[in-house]
């Protein structure tokens, strides 16, 4: 590394070749090399995600029930007609919107609250933060089981034990309030995620500016409203979008805790049920395609915003 400060020297070229020609050649070679670095990942991704999706579209036009494998036939738009006229799709979409929306909003609010609390200097700050992120690390299947049996059970669930202590009778969470149960569970899991991102945002705030505000006589609430929240905007956007995308695909707690009963049959659970319990491949594929279209329509605008945020931060 002795040449740190010198200008780049052109690659040694045969005397017959012009200087610019050789430079262009080496540029082209470099571009080829760069492409060769990216292509394997690109191909793998296309092979594993895009091609199956195209096949799903093909399946969605077939009349194919696994119980009658010999009767596979082209069905046109029949499966889509069933999706839109049948009784399941719109309730399922509502369930998805309610469960995803409430969990995102609740975990965002709680996450912001905890981020503010943990941004202070206090005894055991590091330990508190460590404990706080744990729910997000816990295997969702294990979390769902522990919540179902150890926390929310009518007889031995600790939440009910706690409620009994303050004079409230036990609640059969899973069967009487399935939607609330799932939202609670997801909020518990995703609050740490929101908190981590928002905490990173809080800690990236310039201390001097905050101190200056305090010297100028701004109270903590006003400082928070006028300086911290605007600064956090970008972090809140990232947290919301990433959280929504992960929560939109949440499957584990529904499969384990409520099995899609009582208004918890989200689109991803509905598709699973159609394909693997109802064994109707064509119809399930149609549900899958519609789910993807809905997701794309909803996500496109969101993704654009997200992408802008991403590309603004950390670009070369």
């Amino acid at each position: 590394m002795t040449t740190l400060t010198t200008a780049p020297t052109p690659a040694p070229a045969p005397p017959a070749m012009s200087r610019s020609h050789s430079a262009a050649l080496s540029l082209r070679k470099k571009a080829r090399q760069s492409r060769a670095l990216v292509l394997p990942a690109l191909f793998f991704s296309i092979l594993m995600t895009q091609i199956p999706f195209l096949v799903t579209i093909y399946f969605s036009f077939l009349n194919w029930n696994q119980l009658r494998p010999s009767e596979i036939a082209f069905a046109g738009f029949q499966n889509y007609a069933v999706v839109f006229t049948g009784p399941d799709f719109f309730p399922s979409m509502m369930a998805t919107v309610i469960i995803t929306g409430s969990s995102v909003v609740l975990s965002l609010i709680l996450g912001l609250f905890f981020a503010v609390l943990l941004d202070r200097k206090f005894m055991g700050q590091g330990l508190a933060r460590t404990l706080m992120i744990t729910p997000f690390l816990v295997m969702p299947a294990a979390a769902a089981l522990i919540w179902k049996w150890s926390m929310l059970d009518v007889n031995v669930g600790m939440i009910n034990v706690g409620l009994n202590l303050i004079g409230i009778p036990s609640i059969a969470w899973n069967t009487d309030f399935p939607v609330l149960t799932i939202i609670m569970m997801l909020t518990w899991q995703y609050t740490p995620f929101m908190m981590l991102i928002l905490l990173a945002g809080l800690q990236s705030q310039s201390r001097e500016v905050l101190e200056a505000a305090s010297v100028d006589g701004a109270g903590p609430l006003r400082t928070f409203q006028w300086m911290t929240l605007p600064h956090l905007r970008q972090y809140i956007e990232i947290a919301t979008l990433l959280g929504s995308i992960m929560l939109l695909q949440a499957f584990d707690p529904i499969a384990i805790m409520t099995k899609g009963t009582g208004g918890t049959k989200t689109l991803s659970y509905l598709l699973y049920e159609r394909a693997f319990i109802g064994l109707d491949v064509g119809q399930a594929a149609a549900f899958g395609v519609v789910t993807v279209i809905v997701t794309i329509v909803v996500a496109t605008l969101a993704l654009r915003t997200l992408f802008k945020v991403f590309m603004n931060g950390g670009d070369r």
Partner: protein, 270 residues
């Protein structure tokens, strides 16, 4: 007055944090109880503790499911790193022409619900005789984690000082030496973080595992889910099995907290 306020807020913080952590602490505590003590109301705090439930869990064959989980998680992470490190290099240090298009493509595959591809994947694997096959699961997990890995890795690559790379190029290092000798050592902590996050997501994955495996290749999450049928007493043994399942990831996550934030935000947060 101000000091008192501070103490109050600290106390409040701790109460809330402990409430949030309670289900996990209670799970670990219950795993050391007997079934009788675990199911008693009011809950017993002072009771004989033992490792008996852990023995029971392994008697029920949890060992092989853990090994499957480990195989799928490690192999998928290795594949992801092999693909993502060069890709991130080509998207950051030696950028190709359409960097943002490629990045957009990767991120969009992450947003495609698993619902979009599960049916063909199921039938293709069935046709290949690769249902209940841990290699297939490893490949699928690699595809699942690749977008995050590329994004996150790119954000780490972006931080390698440009001068260092240029200096290496001027010194006549070819691409391979440049990558291995100069850039890689600077990136090791970042790569470790990417690996950790891919491992965590693979280890915790339930949807694909439950649909595409039945017995030989079954991983821990679906095993846990089928562990109890709700009859008899099972709280203590379920807690023990869950504790074993979540412990490796929790410890790893605790150790790498800082990098975790960046990984989870796909590199958008420093």
């Amino acid at each position: 007055m101000r000091k008192l306020n501070g103490t109050l807020i600290t106390a409040l913080t701790w109460v809330l944090v402990l409430l949030f952590f309670f289900p996990i602490a209670w799970m670990v505590f219950t795993s050391f109880k007997t079934e009788g003590a675990a199911a008693s109301i009011p809950p017993t705090i002072f009771t004989a503790l033992s490792f008996d439930q852990y023995g029971l869990v392994f008697d029920r064959g949890m060992g092989s499911y853990l090994i499957n989980s480990l195989t799928a998680s490690l192999s998928s992470t290795a594949i992801v790193l092999l693909l993502a490190i060069p890709a991130a290099y080509g998207l950051s240090i030696r950028p190709i022409k359409r960097v943002s298009d490629v990045l957009f493509f990767f991120i969009s595959t992450r947003f495609l619900p698993a619902a979009a591809s599960i049916l063909p994947v199921f039938f293709i694997l069935k046709a290949l005789g690769a249902l209940d096959n841990i290699t297939a699961i490893g490949l699928l997990y690699a595809a699942m984690n690749l977008p995050i890995a590329v994004w996150m890795m790119r954000s780490f690559f972006n931080e390698v000082p440009k001068e260092i790379v240029e200096a290496a190029q001027i010194d006549g290092a070819n691409l391979r030496t440049e990558l291995v000798r100069v850039v890689l050592p600077i990136l090791l902590p970042g790569i470790a973080a990417v690996a950790l996050i891919c491992f965590i997501f693979a280890w915790n994955e339930y949807f694909l595992a439950t649909l595409l495996t039945t017995s030989i290749a079954r991983t821990t999450p679906p095993f846990l889910a089928s562990f109890v049928d709700g009859r008899g007493q099972f709280l203590a043994v379920l807690s023990a099995a869950s504790t074993i399942a979540v412990l490796p990831v929790i410890i790893a996550g605790w150790v790498a907290q800082k990098q975790l934030v960046r990984g989870l935000a796909m590199g958008a947060v420093k």
